[in-house]
Symmetry: none
Subunit: 428 residues, 2 copies
């Protein structure tokens, strides 16, 4: 099955928003074995959308659109697509009820203009929207398909998984299965070199890519059934695991935070954080995982030196002797958080996110981490290499991932020593 | 001048990379007054690239391509575009020297395959690449232009600014200026209804859109000079401001956190946070803004009831009488954070992000907010309407934006009362 994607929205042509839907749909369709031949972005313009539809459906079996389903006058994707297949729009009672219920949940009535969103092409398969107001749909004519999805990524991805994938099932031939191996602490090229001979294989394919400072491998196999595809994948996964060992933090997990929270749950451990430069990002990521309350009770964001002293008990002399950006301060922050929280493990970070370096010329991109259970403390110094320009966001993300990884490794291996781990001093 | 963008690369069709070039070029071209009518993504495929070029240049003055300039066989953008204008490729001595020098700087010789990158369309204006090996170029035929740029964003953006913009200058007529009005607390449709008569205007145009629970308006004017465009914009901006009032949190700001931090700086106020459900997201967003240390010293993430008591002084009786999800607890959290931080303003939130509701059947999507300066406290109850499914991330984002907005409004108006604001009780 061949497919083209049409993204509708003047805001995309003006560059107001980044088209993340393009990547999401392309990836998912590839994994389903659907070939995406072409992507287009058009404005909210009936003539140009019709032109684009004509060209796309002349060479492909299916078009998926996103965007242009809003309540305002300039939203016209549904109208244009229905007209393209000569289908009239009719009010859909269920959709109307769902939109009314959406507004009622927010404690208000439905604005009149939203009624338009419940008018659907006659005979279309309707895709309900559980995350917004605009339903989507699928229409078929002469073995050509148009699927209409909303523009906001949250609404689009949920609807794609819940409704579009089941709609597509009967048209898919064969199955594509893939696994994602996530590593941290090794660069993309270094990782790729260790598995370079596997990168030329055709089935399964092994493809490396980088994301937010992490290096990932996607291993994909195509077969008649899922079981056959998994049988092709198993030995390749095993081989990669034996080559990459501890750099792998998870397979088919969504993120470092998911892997870390999962492990803490398994080990019945709780964690607390004391942060300077990441300032909330680590607890935010831990609690992105539903059910994190089993392992996380509290975090302290101590941005200023005064607060490091008053809330965490960092000593004035330590700050004076080592500066706030030091291993010594990270250790005292971790210990202070451990004492005050009652958690089994405390992890602390102090560093320089940027954009500016310190007065003594260190950083950006430098951070000191400490992790402790009150008896043992592990420390780590991170240098991201991103020292200039628009580095703040990158450094904070990578710092936070490092701290999450420290928590994970500590939960895995402590109290055993590891390179860089030093026993906690007596005075604590 | 009208333009279409063609992004060449199978990796884009497979979703392996996010097309950030699309947003960059669209934004920059809009600001130069070039109308981008269409964007396309095609694979490294000569037939489909030729088809796409044919359609694009039949309706637009110019095409800009990115990607497909690498040294390997499947890179064919330059070859296809040159053939489209019947131009032979000839070796370009300067480009060849530049590529050799690039490899010499990295301490190696030029691989034979890279020589292909120095063959350029006869008569083209060559765009040197100071950040990689592939030069770009511009070709013209019958008043139609094709500009070829490399795919890697760092190389593409530098070449666009250094070479493509100067090449385009003589063809630019007029200037486009636009402003983005950001509102919060009003839905996209409700906002659009209030300015619906303005949405039909042609110059300036007024376009509504939604992003992460916020409703935005882009107002855009075209004129001969920037001053003339701004003169067209001024009365429209004023009219919109008078209609939307306090819902507007900023014009041409990037985010609520930027607006909030800016205002706190102007007012010489500092802020602290006490969070339950957002768990670090609010301080994370505040400190996303470089220089936030002027206004932010500390935040407490009190995820469990025990920590709310031990670190913030929330009373056991309050928790028992009102449950942890209550206005009463939010007030005590805010007051506790205010006392312990020494900040001028403290803001607290407790609520239900989801995915599951509470045992007594409330939420997800329900949160209680309190903001105080130790004398006055303002409270707010938020219902996002996102009560099921994949709602956690959305609810946390919107909750955090609400708390940032509360801090902003408090800084703007306190100690004056506002609807919903109640004076702090005596016992504090």
């Amino acid at each position: 099955m061949t497919c083209e994607l049409i993204f509708v929205g003047t805001e995309l042509l003006l560059g107001d928003i980044l088209n993340t839907n393009a990547q999401y749909l392309s990836q998912r369709l590839a994994s389903l074995g659907v070939s995406v031949l072409h992507q287009s972005v058009v404005g909210d313009n009936a003539t140009r959308l019709t032109e684009t539809l004509t060209v796309a459906l002349s060479r492909s079996d299916m078009v998926i659109t996103t965007g242009g389903l809003g309540p305002t006058k300039d939203d016209l994707t549904k109208e244009v697509c229905a007209a393209f297949f000569d289908l009239p729009l009719c009010p859909d009672e269920e959709s109307l009820l769902a939109i009314r219920a959406f507004f009622a949940r927010r404690g208000g009535g439905m604005p009149k203009s939203n009624e338009k969103q419940a008018w659907m092409p006659q005979g279309a398969v309707i895709f309900p929207n559980h995350n917004g107001t605009a339903p989507g749909c699928a229409m078929e004519k002469d073995k050509k398909h148009i699927l209409i999805l909303p523009g906001p990524p949250r609404e689009m991805t949920a609807m794609f998984e819940e409704s579009a994938v089941p709609y597509l099932r009967p048209y898919l031939d064969g199955v594509i299965c893939s696994h994602e191996i996530r590593t941290f602490g090794i660069g993309e090229s270094a990782m790729a070199e260790r598995v370079s001979d596997l990168l030329d294989a055709q089935n399964p394919t092994v493809a490396p890519y980088a994301k937010s400072g992490e290096a990932l491998l996607r291993v994909t196999a195509k077969a008649k059934t899922a079981a056959e595809a998994e049988a092709l994948l198993a030995p390749v996964l095993q081989e990669i695991q034996s080559r990459l060992g501890d750099w792998i933090y998870g397979i088919d997990v969504h993120s470092m935070e998911e892997a870390t929270v999962q492990l803490l749950k398994e080990k019945h451990l709780t964690v607390t954080t004391a942060e300077s430069c990441t300032a909330g990002l680590v607890p935010k990521r831990i609690t992105d995982i539903a059910g994190a309350s089993d392992v996380f009770a509290c975090g302290i964001v101590s941005y200023s030196e005064a607060i490091k002293q008053s809330l965490l008990g960092v000593k004035k002399e330590t700050l004076a002797a080592h500066t706030v950006y030091s291993e010594a301060v990270a250790i005292e922050m971790a210990h202070g958080a451990w004492l005050r929280s009652g958690a089994s493990v405390a992890a602390a970070i102090t560093g320089i996110a940027g954009p500016d370096p310190t007065e003594d010329g260190r950083g950006p991109g430098l951070a000191y981490l400490a992790t402790t259970d009150g008896k043992t403390v592990w420390t780590k110094t991170v240098q991201t290499g991103h020292t200039a320009g628009d580095c703040r966001d990158y450094n904070r993300t990578v710092f936070a991932t490092h701290l999450l990884n420290e928590i994970r490794l500590f939960a895995l291996y402590a109290p055993a020593k590891r390179p860089g781990g030093i026993p906690l001093k007596e005075e604590f």
